[in-house]
Point group: C2
Chain length 181, copies 2
DNA sequence: AGTATTCTGAACCGAATAGTTCAATACCCG
DNA sequence: CGGGTATTGAACTATTCGGTTCAGAATACT
């Protein structure tokens, strides 16, 4: 049920989605919706929570061996490209941050930290210590950019290309960085 | 007047902004608003148009000499970090694309093309031809990422750092690319 | 000063919104 | 089969929304 609600919030945001759409998408009518959730905000928070919990990001980033391979997987697979919805619900939601309930903001912030820590472990495996912060930041910024851009045009081929170009840049920097060190 | 409306749409999006907020922000009441604009969608489109027309992006990207210096300026200055609003209205709006009037989608798409062409001219000045497409794509993706992330935390210092780290990566790639060629 | 014009305030409208209630119905399980 | 439990449909409320109308006040022009 939450899984059915996720795409609605994904596409339209919290403010742009109405409960009729949620009824249609979930197949549950208003009575049912409001017996399970307190209000629309609550539905959003729970959908977002489920999205973050079931998403592949942390799994990908913690698979062994740690390293840039995981980063590439993360950038390739974590943003969705399924037509119905594209990019990432959490990234999309940071755009709506001004209208989000506190609980949702906290979810996003907390998961950002967790995800960043997971990214960091992979970066530490390949970069000298003094570059780790910057590289992590670049990866996250790049991920956000991919996710937003996917809303406008979700081209799977272009996405693959883009990730590979970024990884080339990163790998180049990693090897030259090690050489210098 | 449009200048006063821009921050409202910026923060709350088209769906999340209501006309009361637009009245308060512009200091013009509903009567005045609706005598000048057809409807809320129209206000949004005109605000977005003005934003794109008056923004610094194209000016920065076409200043001489062309090159990565312009790209750095663009990444540093084009995203706003003014507390009231952060990032970029156009990038924010791509997240709301599903609810935007056609005219707005066209504005965004067209300006994306124009901006990308301007980026390209700067990239061509420093990169071998076969890397230009990829580098342009990376720059745009990075820009989008910066803008979205600014919604959550708009830290000017972190922003500077981030841009510089990206530029190091890019400059490293440019010199090694030329060396190979 | 007098006239034309613009802008404002406030009332008003219909539609859509989130959210509630409850009788009827379907379903499940003993 | 029968009784308890979910689930539904639909009517209903209250509020907010975008948008309209228009008389009056402020403003500008001559």
């Amino acid at each position: 049920m939450l899984d059915k609600a996720i795409p609605v919030f994904w596409r339209y945001g919290l403010a742009g989605a109405n409960v009729q759409q949620l009824e249609a998408a979930t197949g549950v009518n208003k009575s049912g919706l409001y017996s399970e959730f307190e209000n629309k905000d609550d539905m959003f928070v729970e959908a977002l929570r489920r999205y973050l919990e079931t998403g592949p990001a942390l799994r990908i980033l913690s698979s062994r061996p740690l390293g840039l391979g995981n980063i590439e997987q993360f950038l390739s697979l974590a943003p969705a490209f399924s037509g119905d919805y594209a990019g990432c619900l959490s990234v999309n939601s940071t755009r709506d941050i001004a209208l989000l309930p506190d609980a949702a903001v906290r979810l996003i912030s907390d998961f950002n930290e967790t995800r960043m820590a997971a990214i960091r472990k992979n970066v530490e495996a390949e970069f000298p210590q003094d570059q780790v912060d910057d590289v992590c930041d670049l990866i996250w910024t790049f991920f956000s950019g991919i996710c937003i851009d996917a809303n406008l045009k979700a081209d799977v081929g272009a996405h693959r290309n883009r990730v590979q170009a970024f990884m080339r840049l990163l790998r180049g920097s990693a090897s030259s960085g090690r050489a210098e060190a």
